[in-house]
Each structure stands twice: as C-alpha cells, then as structure tokens.
C-alpha cells in the first residue's frame, strides 16, 4: 500500500518538518559540545566572537529551526490552514542551514565581512519563512489567542532580523556610536527571546498542552495577561534598552505578567488533566515551564539593577535559553517526532493491519536519562557561569552534552521506524508477519 501524500492535500509531507527538526537536534548537540570547548571564554564577558558563534548555534540552529519546522506541522492542525508552499519551505531550509553554517563559522574566526554575507543568506531564509507563513495564514477566519501570538512572533522575527543585520553591518562599517552597540545587542537578544520565541511558545502551548495532557483548553485573565503583556511589554523593553532604563523596567514588568499568565495556564492544565501519568516528554515541558520562574526573576533583577555584571547576564541567558526554551522544545519534540514518524509509517495501515502504538516508538529509559542529564546540566551550567568557574562550566557542559546525545539517540531510535515499510518488516518475526 502506498503512503498517503498529505502534501497533496492539507498538510505537508512529513519530511518537511522532520528535516528542520533533525538539523535542529544536530545544532543542539553541537552547541552543548561547544560549551565544553569554550568554557574559558564563557568564564569571561559574554561579548566574544566565539560566544556569538555559540549563541547563534543555539538561537538559530536549535531554537529557530525547531520553531520553523514545527510551524510547518502545526499550522495546518492548529489553524486548519494549508501551508502555502512546500517548495518554498524546502528552499528556506537550504538557505537557513547554509547561512547558519556560514554565520557561525565566521563568528568563530571573527571574520565579519563573511559573517555579514552569511547573515544575508540567513535573512533570505527568514524572509522565505515569513512569506510562507503570511500567505498560509492569509484569510484566517478566526484570530484566536494562538493566532494572535503567532502573528506577534512573526513581527518579532522581523525586528530580530533587522537588529541582527544592523549589528552585523556595524561590525564591518562601524557606524553605531560606541555607546549604542551594547544596547542594540541587548535589544537584539531580547527581541529574539521575547519577541520571536516567547509568543510562539506561549501560543502553541495554549493549544497543544491540553491536547497532550487531555485537559480543557484554558481561558480567562491569564490569556489577556499574555497578549497584553507581550504586545506592550516587548516594544517597551526594546525601546527602554535603547533609550531609557525606566521604560525597560515597565516593559520587563509587563513581560513578567505575561509569564505569570502562561504559568497560571500551565498549572491549570496540569491540575485539570485527565491523563494522570506524565511521560518524559510532558515532564520536560513542565520542567521547562518551571525554569521560567528563575529566568524571570533574574531578568527582573537585571532590569532593576538589583543584579548586574556579565556573569549573571550569562546565567540569565542559560536559564532562559537552556532551561525554559530548550527543555520545552525537547519535550515537544519527544511528542511531535514520534507522532510524525508514526503518521508517515503506520497511519496508512491503521484498521487494516496491527500497528504499534505511539508509546511503542518511545525509549522511556533513554528519555529519562536525557531529562536528568539536561536538567542537571542546565542548572549546573547556570550556577557555574554565575560563579565564573571555567572548570565547573566545562563539567556542566559535559553533562549537558551527554544529555543532548541521549536526547538525539532517543529521536534516532524513533526515526529508525522510517525504514520499516510494514509493521511485520519492523518486527521481523513470524508472529508479526502472521498478523498481516
């Protein structure tokens, strides 16, 4: 029997999101290993070309590729809209991967004219994504909570790209005033974190977490807090970082309100769930949400000058990028990738032959190992960075790398099912063959 080609219908071929997700996992492993290799640099100031290479491996390679790949899977499901162009999604992937490799490599060797060219290629990939998403969502009938936050995140991506290009061009032409570079850099980072990543994660979580946990979709004031908190908070924070600390503080408080709203919803979904057992994917997701508390506390502390210095700024970035976003993404991937594989390989045979359940595609022991290593590694790394100890940073990086490898191995085992044409072939047993 042939595999259905959803691309001809309403959802893209499973290989479209999968290629993004696989590339993202490779970037994650590379970034974790990079922490070990760059422990000495990480013990110093965060503005260092090699640390910029590491940061972009995380933000572009790991986080952005994941979000973009997941978008191609989730947009048809969450918004009931077809992807405008699968071909563009494939070109976009090629542009992004080529651009990211160039960007990271040129950052690493501090060759900024090459870095600017690579940034242009990344920019072309991002524009392709924006066009594809805008055309896919064109004419959307209902602008739900998730749809609004999704649109907000695309606007955040535009601004992040704009600030990034300005910074890249400044490394070549040196046109920013000396006092303007770091505020622009901080704005670029926070636009990526709070303008691009946070809205999409909060928006998707509101639809997907109830699906995973078998709970009612949340409603009420936390939704308004998230929409208004991010809608007003991110622009104010960005302007404040550029011009006025007080404006930045108001923006930070509004973003904190959005975080509070999100956590209230997550807690409500977890409390009202009809699925009592939590698999490792869900534990990752909830652990990631819990990391928002220390990340927000550190962010507010830095905004209000209660805390300061490059070490705590690095710890803040690690708790946010490594704790909240990365653990959330790992959890989401442990749910999404097995489903994509199951859908591609086994869904065509449902009702006609015995097929494995989704849980049978998982490797719980390996997932559990990944949870312990990644959670411990992220928390250890944040503490080591705050202390400024290269030895401890290296040790935490090693734990993190092992965790990333365990996670990659888990997904690799799931992806092995793509080789199976039938359940019987996969089982490789007479009993399995008899079921057919």
């Amino acid at each position: 029997m042939s595999v259905p080609h959803p691309g001809a219908g309403r959802v893209p071929e499973a290989t479209v999101p999968l290629r993004y997700l696989i590339a993202a996992v490779l970037a994650f492993v590379l970034a974790a290993a990079g922490v070990v290799a760059l422990a000495g640099e990480l013990a110093g100031h965060y503005y260092h070309p090699r640390l910029a290479a590491l940061t972009h491996t995380v933000t572009l390679g790991w986080i952005t590729l994941t979000i973009m790949g997941a978008s191609y899977q989730l947009v048809p499901i969450v918004f009931a809209r077809p992807i405008w162009s699968e071909r563009l999604a494939r070109w976009q992937f090629a542009l992004l991967v080529a651009g990211m490799i160039g960007l990271v490599a040129h950052f690493y060797i501090a060759e900024f004219s090459g870095m600017l060219w690579a940034a242009g290629v990344v920019g072309a990939g991002i524009v392709a994504h924006l066009v594809n998403m805008a055309m896919s969502l064109r004419g959307l009938a209902r602008w739900t909570f998730t749809a609004r936050l999704f649109a907000m995140s695309l606007a955040g991506l535009v601004l992040t790209l704009g600030f990034g290009v300005v910074l890249a061009a400044d490394r070549v032409a040196r046109f920013l005033p000396a006092a303007g570079f770091f505020p622009t850099l901080h704005s670029h980072f926070h636009l990526a974190l709070l303008g691009w990543v946070m809205p999409v994660v909060l928006g998707v979580a509101a639809r997907v977490y109830p699906m995973f946990l078998l709970a009612r979709e949340p409603a009420g004031w936390p939704g308004r807090a998230q929409l208004w908190g991010l809608g007003l908070g991110v622009p104010l924070l960005t302007l404040g970082l550029l011009a006025s600390p007080w404006l930045a503080r108001v923006g930070a408080l509004l973003v904190a309100a959005a975080v509070l709203g999100h956590l209230a919803w997550v807690a409500e979904i977890a409390r009202a769930r009809r699925r009592p057992a939590l698999d490792w994917g869900l534990r990752f997701v909830l652990t990631g949400a819990a990391c928002l508390l220390p990340a927000t506390a550190l962010g507010l502390g830095l905004a209000f000058d209660v805390l300061g210095g490059p070490r705590l700024a690095l710890a803040y970035a690690v708790v946010a990028l490594g704790g909240w976003i990365s653990l959330t993404i790992v959890g989401m991937m442990l749910k999404i990738v097995p489903f994509l594989v199951w859908y591609r390989v086994y869904a065509p045979q449902v009702g006609r032959a015995a097929v494995p359940t989704l849980a049978q595609l998982a490797r719980p022991a390996l997932e559990g190992l990944a949870w312990w290593l990644l959670t411990g590694g992220v928390l250890g790394l944040a503490a080591a960075l705050a202390a400024g100890s290269a030895a401890w940073i290296r040790a935490a990086g090693a734990v993190l790398t092992l965790g990333a490898l365990a996670f990659a191995a888990t997904l690799g085992a799931t992806l092995q099912h793509l080789r199976a044409r039938t359940p019987a072939a996969r089982a490789g047993s007479a009993v399995g063959a008899a079921v057919q």
């Binding site: 699906m211 449902v350 849980a359 359940p423 399995g432």
Partner: protein
C-alpha cells in the same frame, strides 16, 4: 480515568507498570511484557474483556488497576461489561460439516505453560479452505482472535463448556471469501457514531480508521471530535471515503463519513 472499555493498549501506554497487575490475574497476561504479543493482544482486549478472560468481576479488576495507577477507585465500572455469550444455536454452516472437516487446536496447555499460541493458531488458519473449520480450545474466551481472524473473513461461534474451558469455531460462510481475501464487512459491525473526544493523538485516528474498515459501501458513520482531524482527511481520501465536516456546537467537530461504492 481507566474504565471498563479502556483497551489494554491504552492502559499500558499510560501505565506500563500495570502489566504486573494484569499478570497477577492470569498468567497469559504476562505475555503482555513481550512486545510482539502485546502488539497483537493489547489493542484488541478491553479491561472488561480482560476481567472475563481472568474469570473475575470487572469491578474488582478495575479497582485494582485504578489503585495501582493512583486513580480514584470509583464506585462501579460505568462501562460495558462482558458476560458469557448467549447459547446461540450452532450455525447451519457448522452443523453441516463432517467431523473430518474440523481442525482441532487445543491451546490450553500452551497457555498454562506461559507460551504464546498465536503462531500455532495462525499456522492452522493457513490450512483452512472454505469447507473446513478450525476449533480452538482455550482456558478463556479468546477475544483478540475474533477481530484478527474476522479480518481474514472467518466467522466464529463460541461454546463455553466450563469457566476455564472454551471452544471457538472459526469458519467461512458458504460461498464466503477464500483464505487471505479482504476482511468480511458487515453492516452490523459498524458503529453509527464514533466519539473520539478527549483522546490523545493518535488514538482518535486509530479508532476512526478501525471503525471505518467495517463500513459497507454506502453506509455512513459520524465521528465526534475535539478538532478538525487535518491528518485524517488525506487517508480518508486515499481509502475512498467521502466526508463532510461541520461544527454542530462550539468545541464539537462532526465528520460524516461514507464509503464510496466500489472503494477498497
């Protein structure tokens, strides 16, 4: 919440540790620790059927499972229970068969030894032609076989000799399909409404497609869903089903599905 109509597949997906509880009730359930046996048996047996196979009250098994899963035990099953089949008369097609046309397979000893008799049963099925019947003798009612062999066009008639001695006759109707042909579909087997609300993906898709495979051409079922099943539509199209979706009330998506005449 675990209920009487929860399949063992779903139960063990969510609570893998409960295989030990089931194994305490009947040694045959220890087979569920093996991936292959689990893949065959678990999707085809509900908790109520497992209770019947173990010869215990469904409420007792439910209470034990819920306790082990950390769920409130609840008062009663609330779902369908399995009762011994009514003493239906032996079908005419079977009564007409001479003794030499019966293939007897007693798997009681296999099951007592903890061995999985499935491969033996399937080997015996392969020897059947339309003039022969297979008589499987088991220590409990073998629910998974009904669907598995039904998909091969075999009808069944069950005889309960004692609580731990069951004979199930698998046979083909006169003029029925030859071995290996497409599964027999009967209108009576298809549910009118398949409610998959509140299920975790991909369970809704599994239930819907399993139900749809029993549809006869022209017959229609209604699916009640939490959301538009975007990933299901391409499979429905490929399998030759017509479908229309609406939202009769907020939060409820209804899909009406009809098998096209001549569809596979």
């Amino acid at each position: 919440m675990i209920s009487a109509d929860t399949t063992l597949a779903r139960l063990l997906d969510e609570h893998p540790e409960l295989v030990e509880v089931l194994a305490r009730y009947h040694a045959h359930f220890a087979q569920l620790r093996e991936p292959n046996a689990r893949r065959i048996m678990a999707p085809r047996v509900t908790v109520a059927q497992a209770a019947a196979m173990a010869g215990v009250a469904v409420d007792a098994l439910l209470a034990d499972l819920r306790r082990a899963a950390g769920e409130p035990e609840g008062a009663a099953a609330g779902g369908p229970s399995v009762t011994p089949p009514a003493r239906a008369p032996k079908p005419a097609a079977l009564a007409a068969l001479p003794a030499e046309a019966l293939v007897h397979l007693d798997v009681r000893e296999d099951i007592r030894r903890g061995a999985e008799p499935f491969a033996r049963i399937m080997a015996a099925v392969k020897t059947l032609d339309r003039d022969r019947a297979l008589v499987v003798r088991a220590p409990f009612e073998p629910f998974p076989l009904y669907e598995l062999l039904g998909r091969r066009g075999l009808l069944h008639w069950t005889e309960c000799r004692a609580p731990d001695d069951w004979s199930v006759w698998f046979y083909r109707e006169a003029g029925g399909a030859p071995p290996g042909a497409a599964p027999a579909r009967t209108a009576a087997a298809a549910p009118a409404v398949v409610d998959v609300r509140g299920l975790e993906p991909p369970e809704p898709m599994v239930r819907v497609l399993t139900a749809l495979e029993r549809l006869v051409p022209g017959q229609r079922i209604e699916i009640l869903h939490d959301r538009r099943p975007t990933l299901l539509y391409p499979i429905l199209d490929e399998r030759g089903f017509e479908h229309a979706t609406d939202e009769p009330e907020p939060g409820v998506v209804r899909i009406r599905v009809t098998r096209r005449a001549g569809a596979a």
